[in-house]
């Protein structure tokens, strides 16, 4: 059983929901990435999504794009991201790391070479934003050969047929995009999300995380009542952006700890495991 499956199995046994923070590797400086990852674990992260910077992050809002630009200005490459993961993994053998990024840096390295290098570094899952299922059968197979979970997005506009198509390829968890828009958008309609989660879970057989638009503890708690995992990204990056390097970890710890407490305090909805 992979690290991601272990996490969700353990949480299910405890009646808790997963907290999945997202930060961009190398933002604001590669030297801060491993300390930030450790901070996220201290604050209660169950899984960490680590963004791979890309020059043209089409599906991201301005906050994550700026994070990408800051990292690229420091020369951060996919290879360096993998070496940051390896450094983190030396000390933390349990917290799953999911890389999230775009296809081109991976294709530049070569899909097979990437899958092998990611496995060696201790990566547990990979979400490529611009690889929808119809373009990623080979990629998903390459990842699974190295026991890495291919993570896929689903959206409010995804048809039942697509949900099933994603379910056939996905393992680890599904990332449900809670609204129409890009990362960091402002509002999230919890009731609308709640209506979709059970059918996605039923059709795919993997846990469902919800992200995009979760900006505070109250929204995180509301999402925790209906989903298996809560993804928080842009809000954390804003915190890193406005912090001095010396205080970034402390500020992120405070923010994420509050969200963790709110998630744990949220009672699971009836019928949930």
């Amino acid at each position: 059983m992979g690290r991601i499956q272990q996490v969700f199995a353990r949480l299910q046994g405890e009646g808790r929901k997963a907290l999945i923070p997202f930060i961009t590797a190398g933002d604001p400086d590669p030297g801060l990435t491993v300390p930030l990852l450790r901070t996220l674990v201290r604050a209660g992260a169950d899984v960490i999504e680590l963004g791979v910077p890309f020059s043209d992050p089409m599906a991201d809002g301005p906050t994550i794009q700026r994070a990408s630009e800051r990292a690229l200005a420091k020369g951060v490459s996919l290879r360096q991201v993998l070496s940051l993961v390896a450094t983190f993994r030396d000390e933390d053998r349990t917290t799953p790391i999911v890389l999230m990024g775009y296809a081109n840096p991976i294709e530049a390295m070569g899909v097979g070479a990437f899958a092998a290098a990611a496995a060696a570094a201790g990566v547990d899952g990979v979400l490529v934003v611009d690889y929808p299922p119809e373009e990623s059968a080979d990629f998903a197979a390459a990842l699974q050969r190295h026991a890495i979970d291919p993570i896929f997005l689903l959206a409010p506009t995804s048809s039942d047929a697509r949900i099933a198509e994603v379910g056939a390829l996905a393992s680890g968890y599904i990332y449900y995009v809670s609204l129409k828009g890009v990362t960091g958008s402002a509002t999230l309609d919890v009731a609308a999300v709640a209506a979709r989660i059970p059918e996605i879970r039923a059709r795919t057989g993997v846990p469902v995380g919800v992200g995009f638009g979760i900006r505070d503890a109250a929204t995180a708690a509301a999402v925790a009542r209906i989903a298996d995992a809560v993804v928080v990204g842009s809000r954390l990056i804003e915190e890193i952006e406005r912090s001095a390097a010396a205080t970034a970890c402390d500020n992120v710890l405070n923010l994420l700890s509050g969200i963790r407490q709110a998630i744990d305090a949220a009672a699971p909805a009836t019928g949930e495991p």
Binding site: S55, D56, A59, L78, A103, E107, A108, D130, P132, V182
Partner: protein, 401 residues
């Protein structure tokens, strides 16, 4: 069964290994809706008749085929014929595609259209058709391009469009495209995204090519009428590649006709300051399709350079990538300096001021013609007029207005 170049893309939008649908899940439903609507429109005689009608009465088609007799004489070789897309309404081939997509938007009941633009030509064409069809229009344009193309920005505003400056990334065309995609994903219910070139996710490369293919179809008829035969080679500039696909596509099945795409070699390929994706790039994934891209060894997209803003793009339409690999088309480079020389030559010798984009195709024709017999025929797509480029040309000549 053999797959012919002219049968592509396949049902899933692929041209061999290129093309496809490389977008986030949030855009898939919109692309499905577009693909179905376009397939239905193609089978609808009323849609086709409306498109035909607007091309004739609003755009001014067919555009003339013109024998550049004096220039051919000076070059002392092949006869050069110019397809005069510069004489279209709004001054370039871009309007053909915008008419087609605006008609489709209206059919799909989308009251709002958005577009990306680099030099502003596609933005102007989109603003024009939006005014013509009474649609709200928002054009995304890199802040750097807005600075360089003030006149086109004002043209768009006169036509009622909102021009949104894009401050992210390199603040040029590719960033405007990213921003337009973000707008679309956020307002997908009421918004139609009019992409200006044969790139992006399926069905855009196919659809834009189809709308632009009127150029090549007219050429086949006009060449037969004027010369009694088809040309030895067809030459067109390639940025994203829509004018080139428009003139190439009807000729793909004509095996005896060479197809030559001319990329912007900028300050020379060796200088690294160019926009020649097919000549100097590697396959990768950007803006929804797999194609040749200018990228660094880590797969980051690099900034490009061309004197011509319309060619200043790090990717290229996936069908061109396929035609390069299959060998059906050849792709060559022309530098800023060569394009400028062709611009001046056409002004002085034929009394036609070509766009700097089109000047790349002209420059290559000028290079090729002297090596060919006097009865050889070169067909050049004169894709746009050069009025918009007067400031750039004057700058290069050290002249200030």
């Amino acid at each position: 069964m053999a797959v012919h170049d002219h049968d592509l893309p396949d049902a899933t939008g692929h041209f061999g290994p290129y093309g496809g649908v490389f977008v986030a899940e949030t855009l898939i439903a919109a692309l499905d809706e577009l693909r179905e609507a376009y397939a239905a429109a193609q089978r609808d005689p009323q849609f086709l008749a409306e498109f035909e009608h607007d091309l004739q009465h609003y755009v001014g088609r067919p555009s003339p085929l013109y024998h550049a007799r004096r220039w051919s004489e000076r070059l002392g070789g092949a006869q050069i014929y110019l397809k005069r897309e510069d004489l279209n309404h709004t001054g370039a081939h871009k309007i053909n595609n915008c008419i087609g997509q605006a008609l489709l938007a209206r059919r799909m009941h989308k009251p709002r259209v958005i577009a990306e633009t680099g030099a502003g030509q596609h933005g102007v064409a989109t603003a024009t058709v939006a005014a013509r069809f009474g649609m709200e229009c928002v054009v995304y344009m890199g802040a750097e391009d807005i600075r360089r193309q003030a006149a086109n920005v004002y043209r768009m505003k006169l036509l009622g469009a909102t021009v949104v400056p894009v401050e992210s990334g390199s603040r040029t065309l590719k960033d405007a495209l990213n921003e337009a995609m973000r707008d679309w994903v956020t307002r997908v219910a009421d918004t139609f995204y009019i992409i200006g070139t044969v790139a992006g996710p399926h069905p855009y490369p196919m659809m834009v090519r189809d709308f632009q293919s009127v150029i090549g179809r007219e050429c086949i008829r006009q060449m037969q009428e004027q010369c009694g035969r088809q040309p030895d080679a067809v030459i067109a500039c390639v940025g994203g590649g829509s004018n080139a696909m428009g003139i190439f596509h009807p000729y793909l099945a004509a095996a005896g006709v060479r197809l030559i795409g001319v990329e912007a070699a900028g300050e020379g390929i060796a200088s690294g300051r160019h926009a020649a994706s097919l000549t100097a790039g590697q396959p990768g994934v950007l803006h929804g399709n797999r194609t040749y891209l200018l990228q660094d060894e880590n797969g980051q997209i690099i900034e490009t350079h061309s004197i011509s803003a319309g060619l200043d793009y790090p990717g290229v339409g996936p069908e061109h990538a396929w035609l390069k690999d299959s060998g059906r088309a050849e792709y060559v480079g022309v530098t800023d300096g060569e394009a400028l020389q062709a611009f001046h030559d056409l002004c002085r010798i034929e009394g036609i001021m070509p766009a700097l984009e089109s000047s790349h195709a002209l420059a290559y024709a000028g290079r090729l013609a002297p090596s060919l017999a006097r009865d050889a025929i070169l067909l050049v797509n004169l894709s746009g007029r050069g009025d918009k480029d007067m400031h750039t040309v004057a700058d290069k000549s050290g002249i200030r207005f």
